[in-house]
Amino acid sequence: MSDTLATNVPTYPFGNAGLEPLLPDLGADGVGRVQLPTGQQAWLFTRHEHLRELLRSADFSSDFTRPGFPLIRPIPEDMPRRPDGSLIRMDPPEHTKFRRMLTPEFMIKHIRTLEPLIRQTVVVALESMRAGGQPADLVEHFALPVPSMVICHLLGVPYADHDYFQERSRILLAWSSPPEQVRDAIEEMRDYLTRLIAARRDEPGEDLISRLAAERVATGEMTEEELVGLSVLLLIAGHETTSNMIGLSTLVLLKHPEQLRQLRERPELIDDTVEELLRYLTIVRTGLTRVAVTDTEVGGHRIAAGEGVIALLSAANRDADVFPDGEEFDLHRGSHQHMAFGFGIHQCIGQPLARAELRIALSEMITRLPGLALAVAPDDVRYRDAVVFGVQRLPVTW
């Protein structure tokens, strides 16, 4: 194994210093090796073309229980390593079976029917923030509650419990959390959702968890354990990503007043703006991890079975061959090839929901708050040191 060969390799992950993703110099090829905190080494791929090849390839597995899988944070010895129900850690054919239980729920047509609810949630949050006086923390009053309320509605999780699951979600994603605390947070999330699923089985509602419990668990297609794992994933992914995107997007728009002015004048630019924000920010800064299941090649580099690879989405989304001047934010770019939602069969299933939330949240915000401004100097904005990139707080006036 080449794990013992290379020395002087950079330590991964690189951390979140600010809006610019950190990246070591890997040369024109953009391929290198990194040292993981777990003692393993892994390949690092950063070029758009290489990520397309790697993430579409059946030669790599997402199953973190496989030997050699690159773990980017230490996990406690006694932590159960079970991919059960957590789609992002599964391979076909199990992955295909589970994903297809969800595809009709998140398809574009279905999400469109949720748009009135999303808009109402956005408007209520904005007006309540406005009524509360300024300055106000946009994260606390808008960016976090909106996606949280929407995913709660979709899943059938009572929003009244948001403090409980948001706190555990925060611990789970923070780099600074000790492994034991991460393990406890996961177990508490699982216990919480286990109780909720039992309640929904006895008294079903018009929500995804009730439907899956009745149509998939009761029929034996999915175990209850798997529904718990899937629900944990959907609850965390459903609010953390979009909420961080709303906070960061607001910051980026305020830092580009000329482009913000154009967007206010021409509201139809919102779709392109959302795509460019997704590309420019790429909040899954840690990239995607895979392990080779057979000897294979990516971009001419030979990778042995059992070697770990990391696909760095944030770097691919700034690849100059695909996005000239990619370090610049330009809402006119037409960033259709970005990989902010990943690539391959695991590409974000909730992307229609994320796009709808971002489009509606940002449009309503800039319309209803025409004087929106940062209440702190841009350099004083503090970023989250977490698996999902974001701002800790965003004090604003209007």
Partner: protein
């Protein structure tokens, strides 16, 4: 007159991301029952060619095959 551009989709490979429907809604749809790709026209008009090529390029599961004229 040259042969038309032809589109084929592989529903077994499809992961239901909906990218193609966003890019070329005249050519692709999602099945109401399972959310997987449905081809609306296998020989789209020339005005759709660019959108179809982009949909194939951006399909995360490589489930769209385009045969150029």
């Amino acid at each position: 007159m040259s042969a038309p551009l032809r589109v084929a989709v592989d529903r077994d490979a499809c992961c239901g991301s909906g990218n193609c429907v966003r890019t070329a809604p005249e050519v692709f749809d999602q099945d109401d029952a399972d959310g997987l790709v449905v081809l609306r026209q296998a020989e789209p008009p020339e005005s759709e060619y660019d959108a179809v090529r982009e949909a194939a390029y951006n399909c995360p599961a490589a489930a769209i095959e385009v045969t150029e004229p």
